[in-house]
């Protein structure tokens, strides 16, 4: 039998709700209501007045009430032949998202981990880490503008873009980095990696600090070389943190907007989902398709949020 609880510690069924009320009210106004309204609007026309099915036209493909989702998913893809569909998919916002996730997440985590391990071994650890973390302190728009200069391609006179200046100094032809498919998306991803590596490094470095020194010592005494220490001792111990960093980066990447919007405006086959969402909402004033794109984005992000929360709860449980 548990010890009897003093009367004063007992609370009725109602009292907890009073404590929760402020948070619940704020959440329902700013998260829950907009969320359901977005879903509702994604089934309506451009002004949110009539059902989306009314925008269907005779003799044209139509998904009925899911018409906006047809636009959201298929508009960028040329469906006339499988070959054309395949090619256009890889320059669509969805195809680009796959490239972004594959390169940016692996890039930032690998760079972050490498920096975290290496920075601990140099004398100016704090300085080195600060430099790598610095891009995080710059606004994303600012970083986009800076990198546009790096990638600048000039048609007349000297190349003022750093990369093209180097190329021409070495006697090579300048390249229009941001206009040439498919390297332009890779160039944008490099900017993303530059910005986010510091974030990954900081979190992974904190995790590495928690790796018990005795285990590493023991491994070294047993004759393990540094690579074995890293891959067989450190990585397995900080694996939960790595997973969290990966899922966080996937979510960040899916939401990515600033870099692409500032540097190419989503042109030249570099579009991503968030830029499309913005364009449909605020340039085309097409609420239906805009919200449908955002619902697709929510659906893509949800599994990763779920993973993150589950990991979080598991960590709580071990405390």
């Amino acid at each position: 039998m548990a010890a009897p609880v003093p009367q004063i510690m007992k609370q009725g069924r109602v009292i907890p709700w009073f404590y929760l009320a402020p948070a619940l009210i704020v959440m329902s106004f700013f998260i829950v209501y907009p969320f359901f309204n977005t879903i509702y609007l994604s089934f309506m026309d451009r002004n949110g007045q009539l059902p989306a099915s009314t925008t269907c036209r005779a003799n044209q493909p139509c998904w009925g009430m899911f018409e906006n989702y047809r636009h959201a998913l298929l508009d960028e893809i040329n469906l006339t032949s499988p070959g054309a569909a395949w090619r256009t998919f890889w320059t669509s916002s969805f195809g680009n998202m796959i490239k972004w996730i594959a390169l940016m997440v692996s890039g930032t985590v690998i760079m972050g981990l490498t920096f975290a391990v290496l920075a601990e071994r140099v004398r100016y650890e704090a300085l080195a880490k600060a430099i790598i973390f610095l891009p995080m302190a710059i606004s994303f728009v600012g970083a986009g503008v800076i990198w546009r200069f790096v990638y600048n391609y000039n048609t007349g006179g000297a190349q003022i873009g750093l990369l093209n200046a180097i190329r021409t100094a070495l006697g090579m032809q300048p390249i229009a980095w941001l206009q040439t498919i498919p390297i332009n998306t890779v160039m944008l991803i490099i900017v993303g990696i530059w910005m986010w590596s510091g974030f990954c490094m900081t979190i992974l470095a904190a995790a590495l600090r928690n790796v018990p020194e005795e285990i590493i010592e023991a491994a070294r005494v047993d004759g393990a070389n540094e690579f074995q220490v890293f891959f067989q001792i450190m990585v397995p111990i900080i694996l939960p943190t790595i997973t969290v960093v990966i899922t966080t980066m996937v979510i960040n990447t899916l939401k990515l907007f600033d870099i692409v919007y500032v540097m190419t405006g989503g042109n030249f086959g570099t579009d991503v989902i968030a830029v499309r969402m913005y364009r449909e909402m605020y340039i085309n004033y097409n609420t239906g398709v805009g919200t449908a794109v955002s619902v697709v984005l929510i659906l893509l992000i949800t599994p990763f949020i779920f993973l993150n929360i589950r990991r979080f709860l598991a960590q709580e449980a071990t405390r």
């Binding site: 508009d75 040329n78 048609t155 007349g156 206009q179 405006g265 042109n267 449909e280 085309n284």
Partner: protein, 470 residues
């Protein structure tokens, strides 16, 4: 033990700061007064949308808007409609110098009728949409043609306002009408169908201004044969990248097909994947994608900013011979190369063979018919208002009575072009609501970047059909 000292030093610091503040506070106001008026905000930085109507190169109006106008017309010429002492709310996209220009134009009316302006300046259309949806629209909004259709149900018809309709060419009524009712008064127009060039360079190479489209094509070939680059093209304009291309293609269509065809594209009666459209794209692409015809070829066209493309023609040495760009280009040239003289170092000619003019205007629309609104419409459509508009040089007033008022040569020439135009065709992308414009920009960008033309046009035709209800 140390505490008293800590407190003492803290007190000292506090006292010092206070006294410093005190002296600063007493000396500041006169300093502010003697300061010269703040430098006028310059033109908005490279706008993210096509500046159909940018600030002009009109003589810079240094006069503050609050100062009384020097040549104030007699109050008797202005009809106040009993609006004395009332106010009118305006919503527009202009800011800085442009906003001052408008205030300057309206000043005689405001002084004569004691009307107060309540202005809201924003480039965000969502503000207008939100205010209208919330049943709280401004009395007068200055916006694009698409809003006339969007808000037709809520707008006051021009026929119900005291507008001097005889001062406007017939095509304005047609352009501003939705289902036969005229809803918007055009106020600030610019022409797009013009090509800027350097008369000095033309003379040096013995080129003459082409009279027909065939002349232009021959001239282009001649330039290439001479080793000159004929065109400077620049697409880069943030999320509106590509608009210079669609402007050019629309001018080609006005040459090859004429205004009815282009109007058909706007109405949706002519599908955008019509072979004639494809032909215009091909013709444009032949120039825009080739290094011999345009600076830097396709990559140059795509990566060059639209303002840089204008300047390339007037650089020393010039990178190209011609640039097709709207009237605002004159302002860009004058600002960057103040030493160049209009008519000598830079000039423009109408796209040869163009039938009807491509142009744009801001539309003034009324959500209310209060006396003050009536007074504003009456004033701007009157001769007094038109002259004032032309004098200030806030681009071109479509009001024909302004013809004699321009003090700026380049603006006068463009105004003359507009007043003598048989008809005016709006930008197809601007006129079709709901995303056709941005899709068109992206299509021409992809086309110049090497994509196949037909799927792009088919996709545009699809969007055109969706948004024109055909």
């Amino acid at each position: 033990m140390k505490k008293p000292f800590v407190w003492l030093s803290l007190l000292l610091v506090l006292a010092l700061t206070l006294s410093a503040c005190g002296t600063a506070a007493t000396t500041e106001p006169p300093a502010v007064e003697t300061q010269p008026p703040a430098v006028e905000p310059s033109e908005p930085p490279a706008a993210t949308e096509p500046p159909v109507e940018e600030t002009t190169e009109a003589p810079v109006e240094t006069e503050a808007p609050t100062e009384p106008a020097t040549e104030e017309p007699v109050a008797g010429e202005i009809d106040c409609f009993g609006a004395e002492g009332t106010s009118v709310s305006l919503l527009y996209q202009w800011s800085g110098l442009e906003e001052e220009n408008l205030t300057n134009i309206l000043q005689p009316l405001l002084d004569a009728c004691d009307i107060t302006l309540e202005v809201e300046s924003t480039r965000d259309q969502a503000i207008l949409d939100t205010r209208v949806q919330a049943n709280n629209p401004p009395d007068i909004a200055f916006w694009n043609i698409a809003q006339l259709e969007q808000y037709a149900d809520l707008l006051v018809a021009i026929d119900d306002l005291p507008v001097a309709q005889e001062n406007y060419a017939d095509f304005w009524r047609e352009l501003g009408s939705i289902d036969g009712t005229w809803y918007g008064l055009p106020v600030k127009a610019d022409v797009k169908s013009i090509i800027w060039y350097s008369p000095v360079a033309f003379e040096a190479f013995g080129y003459t201004v082409p009279e027909t489209w065939d002349d232009l094509e021959a001239l282009v070939e001649q330039m290439v044969a001479d080793g000159n680059t004929p065109w400077s093209m620049g697409f880069e304009s943030g999320d509106a990248t590509g608009w210079t291309g669609t402007d050019f293609i629309q001018d080609i269509l006005l040459v090859t097909q004429g205004p009815n065809f282009v109007q058909g594209l706007i109405d949706g009666t002519v599908a955008y994947n019509d072979p004639a459209v494809a032909e215009a794209y091909e013709l444009y692409g032949r120039w825009a994608r080739d290094e011999a015809y345009t600076v830097g070829g396709a990559q140059g066209t795509l990566s060059t900013g639209f303002n840089d493309a204008i300047l390339a023609v007037f650089a020393d040495p010039p990178l190209a011979m011609m640039v097709k760009q709207s009237g605002f280009a004159g302002g860009t040239i004058a600002e960057t190369y103040p030493a160049l003289v209009y008519g000598v170092d830079y000039d423009f000619f109408q796209v040869p063979g163009v039938q009807g003019l491509q142009g744009g205007t801001d539309w003034m629309m009324a959500f209310s018919d209060s006396p003050a609104v009536q007074a504003v419409f009456a004033y701007l459509s009157s001769e007094t208002g038109a002259r004032r508009w032309a004098e200030v040089g806030f681009d071109i007033t479509p009001n024909l009575a302004g013809a004699e008022g321009y003090t700026n040569e380049s603006l006068a020439k463009r105004a003359d072009m507009l007043y003598n135009a048989a008809t005016l065709v709006a930008d197809v992308g601007d006129a079709i609501p709901g995303g056709f414009g941005s899709a068109e920009f992206r299509a021409v960008t992809d086309f110049v970047n090497g994509a196949d033309l037909q799927p792009l046009l088919d996709n545009l035709a699809e969007i055109q059909a969706q948004n024109t209800g055909q």
